[in-house]
């Protein structure tokens, strides 16, 4: 990967200047949206958009976190996202115990879980010098066990107010989408307008050069691994409130999802390049493509095959576009 990543990196930074890489995921999302509506001849457009925003919000939150980690450069990835989501949701719902008025207490528990997970992950990576893939993989097994132990197979319902909030809407847009949108804007400002974001990109592009230039590389890495865990725990907390309780397998699909939206969103897998709006577009796309295939009546098997083929097709399209630059 090393020799290729160098050439790809120079290509993608050119692409970032001369074109807008996020346009691809939004175009793909729009195509999937219209393909679905074409079948229903325009009926249910509002409902479809609403559902896409609701479900896309969870994918966007975990995807944005994963994006930061992948931006850190080759080999950086967080495989503990699903376990973190499940653990944070389980602990938070258990602490709230369906009592009304405990929503913020639960949120605090979820975020504290995320903070702990992020620090533990980084400790493994930094102190034991484990490759991030292995460190987060091994740690996620432990988080999974803690979640199983604390859950005891019970499905605790979220407090009513919290459940209403997470399924509710404001100005015709789902509340969870507002939260994901807020986080996206926050991250965009952080990445594009603040020193911290420049440090993160510099670290991802060349760790050694960044360190020599005086960037506090290890602080940047620590903050990134903590942020991804915080984002995952927030997504887990919201998802559990949204779907009426935490389940042990609730995070499972978000491992592949979080990586897929980052890549479709147009971020460089080699790191050093991130793309906030693209991740949002990809999150919408991932939901819309499934609902499109559903509405065309394809079976589960065919749907998976097509989803995978579409992901690969987008990656190929993105790479040929880059090499033309």
């Amino acid at each position: 990967m090393s020799a290729q990543s160098a050439s790809r990196k120079s290509g993608s930074s050119l692409a970032a200047l001369s074109s807008r890489p996020w346009i691809w995921s939004w175009t793909a999302a729009a195509l999937a949206f219209s393909a679905t509506l074409w079948l229903t001849s325009g009926r249910g457009a509002g409902e479809l958009a609403y559902a896409a925003l609701s479900f896309g919000a969870f994918a966007a939150i975990v995807g944005l976190g994963q994006m930061l980690v992948i931006t850190l450069g080759p080999g950086n990835i967080d495989l503990s996202v699903p376990a973190t989501m499940t653990l944070a949701a389980t602990l938070a719902l258990r602490a709230m115990g369906t009592e009304p008025g405990t929503a913020f207490y639960g949120l605090a528990i979820a975020l504290a879980t995320g903070l702990g997970v992020g620090m533990a992950n980084y400790a493994l990576i930094f102190l034991l010098r484990l490759p991030p893939i292995i460190a987060t993989l091994a740690a996620s097994l432990i988080y999974q066990s803690i979640a199983i132990w604390s859950n005891r197979g019970l499905r605790i319902k979220p407090p009513e107010g919290l459940a209403d909030f997470s399924t509710g809407r404001f100005l015709h847009i789902p509340n969870v989408a507002w939260i994901a949108l807020g986080l996206a804007i926050l991250l965009w400002i952080l990445l594009e307008r603040m020193t911290w974001g420049r440090w993160l990109l510099a670290t991802g592009q060349n760790l050694r050069a960044a360190r020599l230039a005086g960037v506090p590389v290890e602080a940047v890495r620590a903050a990134t691994y903590i942020t991804v865990a915080l984002f995952a725990s927030l997504a887990g907390f919201l998802l559990a409130s949204f779907s009426g309780g935490a389940a042990l397998n609730m995070g499972a699909e978000y491992l592949l999802m979080s990586i897929a939206v980052v890549v479709i969103g147009g971020c460089s897998v080699a790191g050093g390049d991130s793309n906030v709006p693209g991740v949002w577009g990809a999150a919408l796309f991932m939901f819309l493509v499934v609902s499109m295939l559903n509405s065309y009546g394809t079976g589960a098997g065919v749907r998976l095959v097509l989803t995978g083929s579409i992901i690969i097709a987008i990656v190929i399209a993105a790479s040929t576009r880059r090499s033309k630059q």
Binding site: M1, S2, A3, Q4, S7, R8, G75, I77, L79, L124, L128, R129, L130, P131, I133, I134, A135, L137, A138, A139, S140, L141, I142, Y143, Q144, S145, I146, I148, W149, L256, I259, A260, V263, V269, A270, G299, A300, G301, V302, R303, L304, V305, L306, T307, G308, S309, I311, I312, V315, I316, S319, T320, S323
Partner: protein, 309 residues
């Protein structure tokens, strides 16, 4: 202490020996032909899948689709290979060719392997569901016989693991072809300058990964006698962990086939060991994670000592 860094294979061997000793201490009755067979029963498919993953890591890529691929092969083995062997064999060969093509495309278009294999994992999973929507099927008789054969002195799983280690060691470490393949991970530019096609070599590496993935799926069905579309999904993570436990590294073409097989055996044994501990089932997965971290920490101590001198 350059001794340990020169003999990287020592760490996986010691880890396995320690874990084996602990298991025998907990449960002396495991120290028998029958006991060993039970302990390592499921090691053969995991070892083969780990070798498949190793082929990909050898060329500096990573394969997130191993689990889904082995599941698909298991589904084909339990249906087509059993009912109409010719079609089944053709399908399996087509899968290996697809894997090789995937490697060529990844190199030619400079695609990130992690994403392509991620996408392919959806494709394999979908095909598996398509072939076998609900758990079932049956193992071909000859495969069942092969996997349950009782060789003298040592159980089938141990004999098979040693065989796999010897064959892949000869292929990857001793042969000129294997050295060139490892060179793709080590210094692909040097290979290009030497007039070799890296794209073709990557296709070979991926094709070999496909071959071992197919063998893993077949071995799995031989043991379980049935398949379902999610039967081997955990192999993706197990295989990555096995390669690293065995002393492999993610970059530079530094892999060890013998180490990978031993790593797979260690992971299999860890699961059996934990059940002997009478640990609450809640903590079984977590303890596997803890064992993984412990062994890798040991690796750190070894490499530190190696670097210090």
């Amino acid at each position: 202490m350059s001794f340990f860094s020169r003999h990287r294979i020592l760490l996986p061997v010691i880890s396995l020996a320690v874990l084996l000793a602990a298991t025998f201490y907990m449960q002396p009755r495991a120290m028998s032909y029958f006991g060993l067979n039970l302990l390592f029963n499921l090691a053969v498919p995991i070892a083969l899948a780990t070798i498949a993953q190793m082929m990909i890591i050898m060329v500096n890529d990573i394969d997130l689709s191993v689990g889904a691929f082995v599941s698909l092969v298991a589904c084909i083995t339990a249906t087509y290979l059993n009912d109409s062997p010719m079609i089944g064999i053709l399908m399996l060969v087509a899968l290996i060719v697809t894997y090789a093509a995937m490697g060529a495309v990844i190199d030619a278009l400079e695609l990130p392997a992690i994403v392509v294999t991620l996408g392919m994992s959806f494709v394999w999973g979908g095909l598996a569901l398509f072939i076998l929507p609900s758990p079932g099927g049956a193992s071909p008789g000859w495969l069942r016989t092969l996997m349950t054969v009782k060789p003298p002195f040592m159980p089938m799983a141990v004999v098979a693991s040693i065989l796999i280690a010897i064959v892949t060691h000869l292929l990857i470490i001793r042969s000129g072809f294997g050295t060139v393949l490892r060179g793709v991970g080590g210094n692909s530019r040097a290979l290009t300058r030497a007039g070799l096609s890296v794209t073709r070599l990557k296709a070979w590496a991926y094709g070999l990964a496909g071959l071992f993935g197919v063998l893993a799926g077949m071995a799995l069905v031989g043991l379980t006698t049935a398949a379902d579309a999610n039967i081997a999904l955990r192999y993706t993570l197990l295989s990555i962990a096995g390669v690293i436990l065995g002393g492999g590294e993610f970059t530079g073409g530094k892999v060890s086939p013998t180490g990978a097989v031993i790593g797979a055996l260690t992971l299999t044994l860890a699961a059996s060991f934990l059940s002997f501990l009478r640990l609450s089932p809640d903590w079984q997965i977590g303890s596997q994670g803890a064992i993984l971290i412990l062994v890798l920490t040991a690796r750190l101590i070894f490499s530190r000592k190696g670097a210090a001198t």
